[in-house]
Symmetry: C2
Subunit: 401 residues, 2 copies
């Protein structure tokens, strides 16, 4: 189903994007992106729940609430967080400058920032950067935009595909950045999704809120929830399907498509976590509730002991069952079965007998699946994360001021 | 006030201890300890809340509940966790073997284990080890006992001192081990406290429960709560003070003494966390409730980004205020003041101006204090932790099977 991944946010009709060098990043890499819809789009957003939310979060929340948007302007290299009134004025100014260049309303421009906390945006560079980015807008600009929002990401993250609603071809795609401060309730995680579907604002917001619960909110890199996270969706209706206004089959088809894009991007974020050498999927099934399943999966995914064990390719099931036991969710050790890949390692309260060579092969893979069956109920949850390596310590332990 | 730290669990009258090599640890280091009171003591205990609790936890809980104990037998090198019925039988057998050697009741012997999960105790070695340890009991045996319970600890942890109750000299002291899987609600954390105070069982248990809340439960090394944690207290009454049976001034004096010992040992556990190069104290004051203060302090102490920043001597206040913001507790960014040592780094929602050289000196110290004043109320909390270093990844990422 997935195709044309490189098309990202420019697969859907009427969307252009660009990414350029404004000079905000010290490294001199691209650091400012614009995504633009030819026509005003229905929009929705979900935002960090961190009480220390950055200025652009407040600006973008207002756009999402209004429900109409035509552009996203995003910068890397400076989070514009903990910057007080100046920061808020700068975020609004970014929207105004972008609106002027694109000849749209400033109230219809989302603003997103990622990077260092506590530093003011260099507005002269931002201003000339926005002009440059507006000129550079391109039907194939998604990759450039994806690169310009990277921080410690090692590659740009994109995904897009086409599906059908009522006989009409509908396109959807997105770009994301992640890497550090990645944890549920959003992270230094930016994700922008564009689609040409026609849908009402209420249902778009509802679909996004639902999908985030099982995609981005199921990713943990380091347990840190950032000040700047947001997932934005713009739906400009140019697919010309009959407007989706109720929870019918068309809505379900769109929900599935949005879920595919968000899940794919969320997994890419976990896969490219800071210093990652392994991609870990933690599946918990047989829980009494989704909340219990999620608590246990997240407890395992966050455990530094489990994550360092995976880095060392150590099938240390003791650390896994231990993390399950302190998750604060209902589980009965004697009923729980733990597998690494397909190999059962813990059963009936005891370590299981297993083929050591086969298990060694499982742990040597880049992608490792940790499975728990609680045998208590019908609910499941899956969390994605990565291992904890020397490189994570190096990336975050270096003094950058 | 603290003195004779080396006396540890053998400062109080009537207590002897020993630590010997039973052959359980692969390294060949000492791995079995006994602590013995000449007369039956009033006892209390607090235990891991991990649902995957090890066999010795169940055995020792029963002793604590009975309220009378005369000995503790503890081994390192094997946690006797996830070992099912065999593990439970082995834990009981340890109590019986110890009781026989010491000529006491098996129901009055605490059992503690720490080490690898999912492996059965080598009972032949345990049996001969218990005989050896019983013979080796000594008035100055605390250091030997402290060494024999170490796992990845780099030094034995002990503390003891003398105070007065009603004109009588009362002694109290303890030993502890920590290092990995260290997080509130106990950790692979064992702590044994002995005192010659005379106190009722109810008040001893009450005092211990209260003290643990602000000492051991305020330590985090890696956020992992172990299967085997316990803090045990034995009070044998040989100080001949008037038995403490109500919450009077004598009780307060004992509570303060117990708090001093437990806090001192808890800080030693944080200081010697796996791979630690820094000791971090996080003080949160001005909270509306202790729970809020604790949530914020713990959120900062657990943040891998804060911990790696401290490893890198980076005064990254953005990560600190960010971790405070996602703690799930009430805080208002604009009212919060963050200091590193005495230097204010964040105030009124913004980074503060500070002397960079002075701040560099603060971060270069081994002990770093992170202070937050929320300016919302009167409640405080202090959490102790350590930094996250390459060495933590090395210790836990090596494949040991």
């Amino acid at each position: 189903m997935l195709r044309e991944n490189n098309a990202g946010v420019t697969l859907a009709k009427g969307f252009k994007a660009s990414g350029i060098k404004a000079g905000i990043k010290k490294s001199g890499k691209d650091d400012l992106a614009i995504i633009y819809s030819e026509v005003p789009a229905t929009v929705a957003g979900v935002f960090t729940q961190n009480l220390v939310a950055a200025a652009p979060v407040w600006v973008s929340k207002a756009v999402a609430q209004n429900g109409v948007g035509q552009a996203i302007v995003a910068n890397a290299g400076c989070a514009n967080a903990c910057t007080g009134e100046i920061g808020f004025a700068n975020a609004k100014k970014m929207a105004e400058l972008t609106a002027k260049e694109l000849n749209v309303n400033a109230e219809e421009v989302f603003v997103a920032s990622t990077g260092v906390i506590g530093v003011n945006l260099p507005m002269d560079k931002v201003e000339s950067g926005i002009k440059k980015a507006a000129t550079a807008l391109d039907d194939n600009g998604s990759i450039a935009a994806g690169k310009a929002i990277m921080t410690t990401d090692t590659y740009p993250k994109a995904c897009s595909f086409t599906f059908e609603i009522g006989g009409k071809k509908v396109n959807i795609g997105g770009i994301a950045k992640g890497s550090g401060m990645i944890h549920p309730n959003m992270a230094t995680m930016l994700c922008f999704v564009t689609t040409d579907v026609a849908i009402s604002h209420d249902l778009l917001q509802q679909a996004l809120a639902k999908v985030v619960t099982t995609s981005f909110n199921m990713v943990s890199v380091d347990g840190d929830t950032s000040t700047n996270d947001m997932v934005l969706v713009m739906a400009n209706g140019m697919a010309e399907n009959v407007m989706i206004t109720t929870e019918d089959a068309d809505y379900d088809a769109f929900l599935a498509a949005l879920n595919t894009v968000c899940t794919e991007l969320a997994k890419l974020v976990a896969r490219d976590g800071e210093g990652a050498t392994k991609f870990l999927e933690v599946n918990v099934k047989g829980a009494e509730s989704f909340e219990d399943a999620k608590k246990i999966a997240m407890s395992i995914a966050k455990s530094p002991l489990v994550k360092t064990a995976c880095f060392g390719q150590d099938p240390n099931w003791g650390r896994i069952i231990c993390a399950a036991g302190y998750a604060g969710a209902k589980m009965v050790p004697e009923k729980t079965v733990v597998s690494l890949g397909d190999i059962v390692v813990y059963d009936q309260g005891l370590g299981a007998e297993f083929d050591e060579d086969a298990l060694r092969d499982v742990m040597a893979e880049h992608d490792i699946t940790i499975n728990l069956d609680l045998h208590l109920g019908e609910e499941n949850a899956t969390v994605w994360t990565c291992d904890f390596s020397y490189e994570y310590v190096k990336i975050n332990g270096e003094y950058h001021t």
